[in-house]
């Protein structure tokens, strides 16, 4: 009976997976998503004394064929968000609608089926690769689970193609992960993510361990594959130049919340949230001469604990514009009142009571 139910579930999911989504229409809709990790005390008898609110009410859409960049401070919940979307962590609350169907509670074979279309490239190339498997087996593993994608006889060649595609020597197919450098391992992870040519790839810092030239190769490759296969990417990274380059839209997270989201131009040239403004002003500029005339907004104070976020606006303890209202009233993610109905790039969603359009010197054109 349970089996019949599972089969029905799989059939239902497969029907959803078959549906076509028009370019630019939402393929993934995230609604009020929460992930709280319990904090416990005591060794024998664990008592919950609170929770790390890693993701705390996040809503956004990912459109078919687009790249949505996600940026934000270390620890703000980016990886957790990605893992919840992948169903590697169960959501505490909220929904993840894939083509309109909530997949946040799916498990078992139905979940396996979905993974054919939604893949992830992990942040940590060291721990996410099984040390006892050869690179060929690691990259070919998705074919074992979804044998319909590549017939057995073709697999070795497919894997070698994938190695070539991510800039690794196809001769390395029989090597083990520890025989590779950090950047090489990250490319193995990317090759595995690409293997099934999924619809959606969630990339968690896919290029941060790569040197700039290999990074450029991988970014060019991701863009080429996107055009070719109409892929949608969620691209988590802390390098704001890379995110700008690859993203159509960008979301900025702070302490478990999305604080600003908009097109790349809206975010980079017309940021209205003080946190985004501070982030942009801190981008290191490689050319020592291009950095003169830039003013950095240095954030004071420590990052508050996600177990005990500040009242009202979570950014207020470090915000250079905070006022009394910020402590009592939580600003919602919406187009700020001042810009509503106006035809300006500043009119995009921003969770700040005192949103202002500020041009961050050096962030736009490098000209002061």
């Amino acid at each position: 009976m349970a089996e019949a139910q599972e089969a029905a579930e799989v059939a239902a999911i497969e029907a959803v997976m078959e549906q076509k989504v028009e370019r630019g229409e939402p393929i993934l809709q995230v609604r009020n998503l929460e992930k709280h990790f319990p904090l416990t005390q005591g060794i024998l008898i664990k008592k919950q004394i609170g929770a790390v609110k890693a993701v705390d009410g996040v809503s956004f859409d990912l459109h078919q064929g687009e790249t949505l960049g996600i940026v934000g401070e270390s620890g703000c919940g980016k990886s957790t968000l990605a893992k919840v979307l992948m169903n590697l962590e169960t959501a505490t609350a909220g929904e993840v609608l894939y083509k309109g169907e909530d997949i946040s509670k799916v498990s078992g074979r139905a979940l396996k089926a979905i993974r054919r279309n939604i893949q992830m490239v992990f942040q940590d190339p060291y721990t996410s690769l099984n040390p006892r498997m050869t690179v060929g087996d690691i990259i070919g593993e998705p074919f074992e689970i979804h044998p319909e994608v590549a017939p057995k006889g073709d697999r070795r060649r497919e894997v070698q193609d994938l190695l070539d595609v991510v800039g690794l020597n196809p001769e390395y197919i029989n090597r083990y992960p520890h025989q590779f450098s950090g950047g090489q391992r990250q490319r193995i992870g990317i090759a595995r993510g690409l293997a099934l040519k999924p619809e959606i790839i969630i990339c968690d810092e896919p290029v941060s361990a790569l040197d700039v030239s290999v990074q450029a190769q991988v970014i060019n490759l991701l863009e080429k594959l996107q055009d070719e296969f109409n892929l949608s990417y969620m691209f988590i990274a802390h390098d704001l130049s890379i995110v700008r380059h690859i993203s159509d839209r960008v979301g900025v997270m702070y302490l478990g919340k999305m604080v600003e989201i908009g097109s790349d131009e809206e975010i980079y040239e017309h940021p209205t949230h003080p946190y985004t403004q501070a982030l942009l002003s801190a981008v290191p500029v490689p050319d020592p001469e291009g950095r003169e005339g830039r003013e950095r907004i240095i954030l004071g104070g420590d990052i508050p604990s996600p177990a005990n976020p500040p009242s009202g606006c979570r950014f207020r303890t470090r915000c250079f514009k905070a006022q009394e209202k910020c402590a009592v009233e939580e600003p919602l993610l919406a187009i700020p009142q001042v810009f509503r109905g106006q035809d300006t790039p500043a009119a995009h969603e921003s969770a700040c009571h005192f949103a202002e359009d500020v041009d961050i010197v050096g962030a736009t054109n490098g000209e002061a």
Partner: protein, 354 residues
């Protein structure tokens, strides 16, 4: 084989002269490391020379897989052996060649006088012990500090590297921290005993820009305070520009270019460095394909003859396929010397002076 000791050490740190009397804290001479694998011998490090003085920061840049981590592991004495072997060279630390010391002695030096911040923060922290225990252990083992005192020190260190709510989080396990926070724990651990030399292997790759700036500032402060030598391995040219005194660029197990920081960005003297600089994405560059050096990194089992970069180099000539270029001293067009600059390219003149 592979001995090209045309010594141009990039000893030209800011405000320091190459002929200053003080001996370098660390001097690596013609270091060679290979991995003996089932498929053959992978030559990961092929004659690397550099030096670091107390208080100085040397940044090592380069191709992913070029031997940055492996050469540092050799310096630290933590090379995975077998299959890795140091097959030649010297590692002179405070006047002593570390390669001639007993493993016991090296372990002591490693614990207290030099420390490394690893590229892979998660796997270098022990998952079954709390972060506090691991930090405290440094003090207990090396300083004989009591358990409660060690824990207090651990909290202090965590606060120092900007972990919020350190008092509570000291009892948590590594997997409960975000990638960036784990990296800060690693930094705290390396700093714990105030070593003379720190090797930081991509200490900020996992961090966002604001924390990155904080961490680099923290490293720089502590470095100045304790007059530590710092070797910083990184891909982030922005970070390098902020903190380094001098740069060494690696390709296929060799240093192909050395230069003071500002010089390198302004006018690279090696085609690989130039390709690297051209690949940096800029905030104002959008919609175009990014520039990337064409081709694949070399297979270390079969490094190309002559200049290892020749199959990918836009300037390669016949001589590049037959003769390994030594590290030439780079001069101005009129022959005037430029302190601390070297390039392992037959055509460095054409590269820098056009």
């Amino acid at each position: 084989m592979g001995i090209h000791a045309t010594e141009v050490t990039a000893d030209a740190g800011r405000g320091r002269t190459a002929d200053s009397e003080d001996a370098p804290l660390l001097q690596v001479k013609n270091l060679q490391v290979e991995f003996r694998t089932r498929d053959g011998v992978a030559k990961a490090v092929n004659g690397v020379n550099y030096s670091v003085r107390a208080g100085e920061t040397l940044a090592i840049l380069g191709e992913s897989g070029s031997g940055k981590s492996v050469s540092s592991q050799a310096v630290m004495g933590i090379l995975d052996s077998p299959p890795g072997f140091v097959t030649g060279g010297e590692i002179v630390f405070k006047g002593e060649d570390l390669l001639k010391l007993s493993s016991e002695k090296r372990r002591k030096i490693r614990g207290t006088q030099m420390a490394m911040i690893f590229q892979d923060a998660l796997s270098s922290l022990n998952p079954v012990h709390t972060v506090g225990t691991q930090l405290g252990e440094m003090f207990r083992v090396h300083r004989g500090t009591s358990k409660s005192e060690a824990k207090k020190k651990a909290v202090e260190l965590m606060e120092r590297v900007g972990i919020p709510a350190a008092k509570e989080r000291v009892n948590q396990y590594p997997h409960q921290f975000s990638g960036g926070m784990r990296q800060r724990i690693m930094i705290a651990m390396a700093l714990a005993l105030e070593p003379d030399l720190i090797i930081a292997d991509e200490p900020t790759t996992a961090l966002d820009v604001t924390v990155q700036a904080q961490v680099m500032e923290l490293l720089a402060d502590l470095q100045a305070e304790y007059n530590m030598g710092l070797i910083l391995i990184t891909h982030d040219l922005g970070v390098v520009a902020d903190v380094a005194d001098k740069i060494a660029v690696m390709y296929a197990g060799r240093i192909v270019e050395t230069a003071p920081v500002h010089e390198l960005y302004k006018r690279p003297a090696h085609p690989y460095t130039r390709g690297l600089l051209d690949s940096i994405p800029r905030l104002d560059q959008k919609g175009q394909e990014l520039y990337a050096i064409k081709g694949l990194p070399p297979n270390l089992l079969r490094i190309p003859s002559g200049c290892a970069f020749n199959p990918r180099c836009p300037m390669a000539q016949e001589i590049c396929r037959t003769e390994i270029p030594p590290l030439h001293a780079v001069t101005e067009a009129d022959g005037a010397p430029i302190q601390g600059r070297g390039s392992a390219c037959h055509f460095w003149k054409e590269t820098i002076h056009g």
